[in-house]
Symmetry: C2
Subunit: 367 residues, 2 copies
Amino acid sequence: MHTELCERFGIQYPIFAFTPSEHVAAAVSRAGGLGVLGCVRFNDADELDGVLDWMDENTDGKPYGVDVVMPMKIPTEGKSVDLKAMIPEAHISFVDRTLQQLGVPPLPEGEGREGVLGWLHSVARSHVDIALNGKHRPVLIANALGSPPKDVIDQAHAAGVQVAALAGAAKHAMSHVANGVDIIIAQGYEAGGHTGEIASMVLTPEIVDAVGPDVAVLGAGGIGRGRQVAASLALGAQGVWTGSVWLTTSEYANLNTNAGMTEAFLRASSADTVRTRVYTGKPARLLKTKWTEAWEAEDAPTPLPMPLQNLLVADAHSRMNSAGNPDVISMPVGQIVGSMNEVRPVAEVMADLISEYEETVKRLSSL
Amino acid sequence: MHTELCERFGIQYPIFAFTPSEHVAAAVSRAGGLGVLGCVRFNDADELDGVLDWMDENTDGKPYGVDVVMPMKIPTEGKSVDLKAMIPEAHISFVDRTLQQLGVPPLPEGEGREGVLGWLHSVARSHVDIALNGKHRPVLIANALGSPPKDVIDQAHAAGVQVAALAGAAKHAMSHVANGVDIIIAQGYEAGGHTGEIASMVLTPEIVDAVGPDVAVLGAGGIGRGRQVAASLALGAQGVWTGSVWLTTSEYANLNTNAGMTEAFLRASSADTVRTRVYTGKPARLLKTKWTEAWEAEDAPTPLPMPLQNLLVADAHSRMNSAGNPDVISMPVGQIVGSMNEVRPVAEVMADLISEYEETVKRLSSL
């Protein structure tokens, strides 16, 4: 499983692991992959700075990456409070009513949160600035919303850091390459989080052919086993981008405040996800729960556009995800959730990915 | 690309080709795959008998299969005219209005059709009876709707014919195996025609694991290139089930009365399909056209259940598909349509599938 990306980043396996947990990211990097820390949860750039210090110290000198959520076009934005004024009353009362109907308790006193602001351009930019402040040693900045602005790409390149961008269609991939992006993440329909309608089986080779042999493509969506890594490389990817599979690792438990969430993942089948706009305003695949079902009811309002929808539901997310009820959580996950059936250490998941990959290639070669 | 299925059926490559065209099916069998003739279009069993005579004579002694559309439970059914009485007036007037708005001319005098009756249990059963009447030499009966009734499975087995069934979820696959089905076709979300929501990347290994090593699984959905064949076998399939890719072969033109349809396929991207109930009443992936868009309008009625929906739209299909307008056709096709960009002979498509597969396995082995 040695591709050009292994040389480029000094990694042993071209397995890229997106995760909001520094513990998972560091463990993946230590195991020979590339851990990529999701930054969207850091409202406070100083907190990210501290976490990247921790990454620097806990990766045995191995490389790692960061992931930001940044629209290419710089939007008009205000402070959280200005944006909140744009949220219709009917939406707010629907959320309140739904939480009440689903029996979600308020947050414990003093635990109110500001909501996730990482969707805002200014906050995402502060993540880039911290990652590139010269103290840390990321090798990759990935952007969940496609091409970052040109000056961010230039800033990364000046620091010797590569830029990756998610794409759900070949035309977007080509536009990312034209904008200076180095690596395309071909995000298939089956993936968790923001995703398009074209499945990996079709999307990966389409993007590989569209961007040509000089641009590396990572296959994303539906990858949690070695057979899927082999399939993705067969489709022409130079590596894989994984996410969901790390949500049931032991290391993730450090971040997971909700035992119900782990239970929900472990019991879910591949049919228990839904692609919906209720998380951020753009289509994203989530675990199917009573919360996502409530938004599909006849009387439910239409989700708001990004970034308003996430501001609308941020408190609700905190409340649900603190409450420990596996039936009522809000969490992105891909269709691979059906094969996430036990909590295991990152190193074990990595070892399985690699050994099943090797068996698969051996089997194929013998046919 | 030699799996146990090659031995079982006496074929060179485990490439199964579903097609309504006997010309395509025979050409695939002659090229070393297994051509599987779709029977749903034969309202008249004698016509199928004649076509299977032709298959027997034009396959150089190579094996072939047939595909029927048969619910496991025998439904209450009447003649076409009784069922038509169950169709609401509002649906009929919506179809009439839509055809008028889209400028679809009536059929030429004398070309009125009865509508496709192959969806009816009695008609599907007549297809099985013809296939197994002892005159013909099919090696496989595939059923698009899952397990056929027990007596049909027994009838096939008594004739030495294997039975395959489509499944869009692991639990359905397991139930097919319990019913006596020999081969599972794992039909991913990206496939044309009737399909579920789980993409091939996740579905194939899930079904392979669920049915165990003694039951062969064919990967279906998104397969039109050798890289995709390799990916599907990497995922654990023993062979692939293809369909869409044959719609732009030269041999298919014998069946295709509408030059506009070929044009529509050639120009479509992978984003130009939609999963909808408008074709048969069950979710099926179709080419996205002005016809499918009309059914998504606010004022459009909800599609009727199977088999009523197909009876409702059968005349409309005939009219649209005779009219030659690539913007207004009704045709199932998978997301692979984005890579169907020229009309080529079956033998050339087969040769490309095989050579790209071989290159892919060689590339994987060298990593």
